[in-house]
């Protein structure tokens, strides 16, 4: 076993591998006991790495294999390869690793890994002095992780001196570069075949690269086809936000101090971007004379956090919206009326996120509340709860209705290196054939949008547009497919490319190749995020008095976009996101015979000549905030932590009974 044999398999046989991971949070490796030598198996570790033992992304790095120190539970230490998956798994149990544990007090330490990002205006001390009431709440978006249903499988093999990789990924460019760096090969000698079944919320952005690098090392060492499966979940950062708001005598907010802390786990990845996105969600929509927001990222011995639909925007937007409802609740006002009264244009916020006019949001709130009969429902639930009509021995009246609104963001911030690094290349060939070169996996929804733009711009036939399959041509980095495909940026790049080709067409000889980088399009913009949409969501829920589960009864949503390619498709997509978000937050959509449909979603377009932008992250935040607000009404206490668990509900009920 310890002896590494190169005669593991013949060239035609597939070798299977698994990753051996640390089962401690923090410590160091004292020694490794390997089983008896067996020529059928081979072990890879840090010293077998041909190039650098690191995976790099946007200036941040994390090691591929742990060499001496363990920094998080589940960190890869070895990769074991053998003739079949079952035999490898059995053999891996024979490996014994002795660890020296770090004292518990040290494992729980959270270290600040970067300067906090601060945004402030006005005199906060003065505002708090003038304030009649101060409301302080701490909101928590707990750490969550993927279920094991998004399991990764990689297959690597060598063909014509090219290292070929087949893996589900939304960022093949990163897979190729990482494999080239770790295996010490040129980028052109690595070919990636991306598979379509990558994870739904970008949560496995870097894992494919790590897995592919391990399998590629084995392929090069054994000169055989290698297959590996990873079953390790990916984690989302835990975010804690404390909001302290000063209100004047009339209940108008005058000053607010916000502090957010993001636990990034053992390795800080995308820290700058995460801080920017989190800050973008912290701005409240009500006008304030003084405001201060501080976002701090900390590292701990938790597994490193990854993308999870976004990088903290939905968590912070959840806190902003839930806090607005908490203020209205404190003032005993209808949250919808309070929002309509106090939400206004804010120049400071607009310097970070560019949105549609706030009047549109006010209209949306009005429409949604009218459709949901929000005022009546809210008043009735409040009165019945106060009247203490018990539904069971444990609970008083346990229904609630919540409202949340917000704007989604698209892509990376304009300051991010990833934002400007993306590039798209279009070639107009003879016979009017167009080849689009991107590192993007050509999913149906985005390719149909791109295809339509190219056809319209260049007046071509539908069949003439093809997307390269990354086999021979030099792949162009389009960036990771995060934040719902970053529709706005990609559409702008494609349009610009087509415009340049159109100018050169019939003048220059074919083929004409043009590439446009995001930098050339977006460098002039000082605004961090563009958001050409508003949304408002009302959620009605009930607590099941027997199972103590939260059940969603009805959901009403109204959304406004500057421009949408297909409203019907977007409606279906929104329903998917709402359903998934409900499940993520442990809220069960209830089904009763004869009851009206659970969701009533409508989308309208303002008709502006602007590019479409994503509302996915905002929608997740709205579901969370509306749930928290509705639960607060149902349980008569401030629910500030999501996702909600059965234990939380029991503790809220106990607190309610004590009061």
């Amino acid at each position: 076993m310890a002896e590494k044999s190169t005669k593991v398999a013949s060239e035609s046989q597939t070798i299977h591998g698994i990753i051996i991971r640390a089962n401690i949070d923090s410590g160091s490796i004292l020694g490794v006991t390997l089983p008896k030598p067996d020529k059928r198996f081979v072990l890879l570790e840090a010293k077998d790495v041909i190039g650098k033992n690191v995976v790099s992304v946007a200036g941040d790095e994390l090691p591929l294999f742990a060499s001496t120190d363990i920094t998080y539970k589940g960190q890869p230490i070895f990769a074991l390869f053998g003739p079949d998956a079952e035999a490898v798994e059995v053999k891996s149990r024979e490996i014994e690793i002795d660890f020296q544990l770090t004292p518990t007090s040290q494992t729980q330490v959270q270290e600040e890994n970067k300067e906090p990002l601060i945004c402030a205006w006005g005199n906060l001390d003065e505002a708090f002095k003038q304030g009649e009431t101060v409301i302080e709440r701490t909101y928590t978006d707990r750490q969550t992780w993927t279920r094991e249903d998004t399991i990764l499988q990689v297959t690597t093999w060598v063909e014509d001196d090219l290292l070929k990789i087949e893996i589900p990924t939304q960022w093949p460019f990163h897979v190729r570069d990482t494999v080239a760096q770790i295996c010490g090969r040129t980028q052109k000698s690595v070919v990636v075949y991306p598979q379509p079944h990558f994870s739904a919320k970008d949560e496995k952005l870097l894992l494919p690269s790590m897995l592919a690098a391990m399998a590629a090392l084995a392929t090069l060492k054994l000169q055989a086809r290698v297959q590996m499966i990873s079953r390790f979940p990916t984690y989302k950062s835990a975010i804690t936000i404390t909001r302290k708001t000063a209100l004047d005598a009339k209940g108008k907010p005058i000053g607010e101090k916000v502090k957010a802390q993001i636990n990034q786990g053992a390795y800080a990845l995308f820290t700058t971007e995460m801080l920017t996105q989190a800050l973008a969600g912290l701005f409240p929509l009500y006008q304030l004379s003084a405001f201060s927001a501080e976002v701090q990222a900390v590292t701990s011995h938790a597994p490193p956090s990854h993308f999870f639909g976004d990088l903290g925007y939905s968590s912070t937007l959840f806190s902003s919206e839930a806090h607005a409802s908490a203020i209205a609740r404190h003032l005993q006002m209808n949250p919808a009326n309070w929002r309509i009264k106090h939400y206004g244009e804010d120049t400071e916020q607009n310097s970070i996120v560019e949105t549609l006019p706030i009047t549109k949001l006010r209209d949306l709130i009005g429409d949604t509340c009218k459709k949901a009969d929000f005022a009546r429902h809210s008043a009735v639930y409040e009165l019945q709860r106060r009247a203490k009509h018990p539904l069971s021995a444990f609970l008083n009246y346990s229904r609630g209705i919540g409202l949340a609104c917000g704007a989604g963001i698209s892509g990376f911030s304009t300051d991010s290196a990833l934002h400007t690094a993306a590039k798209i290349e279009i070639t107009l060939e003879a016979n009017n054939r167009v080849i689009v070169n991107t590192s993007f996996y050509p999913t149906k929804k985005i390719t149909s949008l791109w295809r339509t733009i190219i056809i319209n711009e260049l007046s071509l036939e539908k069949e003439t547009v093809t997307f390269i399959d990354n086999d021979t041509m030099h792949m162009v980095d389009t960036g990771p497919e995060v934040l719902s495909l970053d529709v706005e940026r990609s559409v702008m790049m494609i349009t610009r490319c087509c415009e340049i080709i159109k100018r050169k067409r019939f003048k220059d000889p074919l083929p004409i190749t043009e590439s446009v980088s995001a930098k050339s399009i977006l460098s002039s913009s000082k605004i961090q995020f563009s958001s050409k949409n508003w949304g408002c969501l009302v959620l009605q829920l009930e607590i099941n008095t027997i199972k103590l589960e939260v059940e969603a009864r009805r959901i009403w949503g109204r959304f406004s976009f500057s421009n949408t390619p297909d409203t019907k498709k977007l409606q279906v997509k929104f329903k998917h996101i709402i359903n998934s978000s409900l499940h993520e937050n442990n809220i069960i959509p209830v089904f009763r015979k004869g009851s009206p449909p659970l969701m009533d979603i409508e989308i309208d377009t303002v008709g502006e000549q602007a590019y479409p932008s994503s509302a996915t992250s905002a929608l997740r935040a709205m579901v969370m905030a509306a749930c928290a607000s509705a639960l607060s009404q149902a349980l008569n206490c401030d629910v500030c932590t999501m996702p909600v668990s059965n234990d939380d509900i029991i503790s809220y009920i106990r607190r309610q009974n004590e009061n």
């Binding site: 249903d149 379509p196 079944h197 999913t443 998934s580």
Partner: protein, 170 residues
């Protein structure tokens, strides 16, 4: 182990390990790539196939259970005329499963539609599924992209088309 079975209406002789799960047989031996899951333990429900018209998780079906059975994958199902009933139902209701579970949920719907046909053949056959059974059966796939109302609306719409098809035929 040599196993004879029918996969996507093709008579096939498989030579595989007796305990190899069906999803891996389909992926590795037959190169049917419509199965998006490799979880191997029924976690996700993204590997549904029809085994004698019944929706099953292929990752939980070992090779030795395949002797003489009829398997229909989504790839094979898309070639059948029954596929259009569900395609139309998705279009009519404006709801459809997300890309991740599209194949699996569609096959579960088909297995439920098959129950209608069987119930119409005679009283001894399975009864027509009621709404709760439909929602429960769709739960075989754990993706939460569709809510119960949407599931029932899709099923009812597809069932209408399926019944019309039977009326025309007989």
């Amino acid at each position: 182990m040599k196993i004879e079975c029918t996969i996507d209406n093709k008579h096939i002789l498989l030579n595989v390990n007796s305990n190899k799960p069906l999803n891996l047989i389909l992926l590795e031996d037959l190169e049917i790539n419509q199965i998006y899951s490799r979880c191997r333990d029924g976690n996700c429900g993204n590997c549904v196939v029809l085994l004698n018209d019944e929706a099953v998780l292929s990752c939980l079906i070992p090779a030795f259970r395949l002797k003489g059975v009829r398997i229909l994958t989504f790839e094979g199902y898309q070639k059948s005329r029954f596929w259009h009933d569900l395609e139309r139902a998705y279009s009519d209701t404006g709801s459809h499963p997300c890309p991740h579970c599209y194949a699996s949920k569609t096959l579960i719907f088909e297995s439920l539609l098959q129950m209608i046909i069987k119930s119409e053949l005679g009283p001894s056959q399975d009864e027509e599924p009621d709404e709760e059974v439909i929602v429960q059966e769709i739960g075989l796939n754990t993706c939460a992209c569709l809510d119960a109302h949407e599931i029932i609306a899709i099923f009812n719409s597809a069932a209408t088309y399926r019944r019309r098809r039977r009326v025309r035929r007989y």
